[in-house]
Subunit: 154 residues, 2 copies
DNA sequence: TATTAGTTAACAATTATTGTTAAAAGTTAA
DNA sequence: TTAACTTTTAACAATAATTGTTAACTAATA
């Protein structure tokens, strides 16, 4: 994702306005590797800008997606997760207990769809999702039942 | 997934009843590689059993999942897709234009999460999702606009 | 055939997300 | 600074997928 500063340029140049709400969400996403949902971003945004609405957060996320500055990920955790890292190829680790998502920067050169047997299917991208248990959920296991399992394996 | 015949045994042995509805959905899933959604299964089931309800289809799918006989996949196509193939490791090709899902039986031995740098995350499984365009959508491209793009890249 | 489980209809409810409207407020170019 | 234009907000409604609920009915099994 472009920086908030770069986005400011871009928006002004294209007749869009740089509002406090946009700036707030942009800044929250900049360098963010936590893969927040819209709701989570909304809660964070509200701390800085008490009057921001969830509706607006969705709008800002949508427009970032349309600009190719942000990706929404469907990882089976209930809500879409937003990832500002659209440049570096990477994969994801998803905790099946708490829904936490972590980036995995590893190159899997062998992950390429075979050329044959695809029935003409033209492959553009490959995403790997690793599922498992994060450190916290592992230590919480057995006792209580972990930190609010909002989503399972999907 | 076990065959309808095996499931019949299992259900009888565990005090559950083998109803026409269960049998119908089981049979529709047996060997099914089309990754149908609940709705699609419902429509197919209704051809054989006009009175079956969508509610029941969801129930039957749920119980198959709980028995580990079926997987629900969240591939960013809107609705969950059901896959009776829970035994053989395989991956998926998803058409970003029409949502079609195809199995890919290919071994990617290198796809293993690294041991280090995971911050204690314990990885259990890896799924690869290849996205692209299926043969039909490729030939339909340019003219009309393809067969109802219900879902995009997610 | 009796018992028990399952199905159906007919809803309500939920969650995530987008659409809508009008009024109010903010941003920007000039 | 102002005028023009864009955004935001509130306050809903709406959608789609899915699950919960109830009661009446029907069907499966021992």
């Amino acid at each position: 994702m472009k920086t908030a500063v770069e986005l400011t340029q871009l928006f002004r140049n294209t007749g869009r306005k740089v509002t406090a709400q946009r700036l707030c969400v942009w800044r929250l996403l900049e360098g963010n590797t936590s893969h927040p949902s819209a709701e989570v971003l909304f809660e964070e945004a509200r701390r800085e800008l008490e009057t921001i609405s969830l509706r607006t957060v969705y709008q800002v996320l949508r427009e970032l997606e349309e600009l190719g500055e942000c990706m929404s990920l469907d990882l089976g955790t209930g809500a879409s997760r937003f990832d500002p890292n659209v440049d570096a190829a990477h994969h994801h680790l998803v905790c099946t207990s708490c829904g936490k998502v972590r980036d995995l920067y590893a190159d899997f050169p062998s992950v390429e769809a075979p050329k044959t047997g695809l029935d003409g299917f033209q492959v553009g991208s490959a995403e790997i999702v690793f599922r498992g248990t994060c450190a916290e959920c592992k230590s919480n296991a057995g006792l209580n039942g972990s930190t609010r399992p909002k989503a399972l394996v999907s």
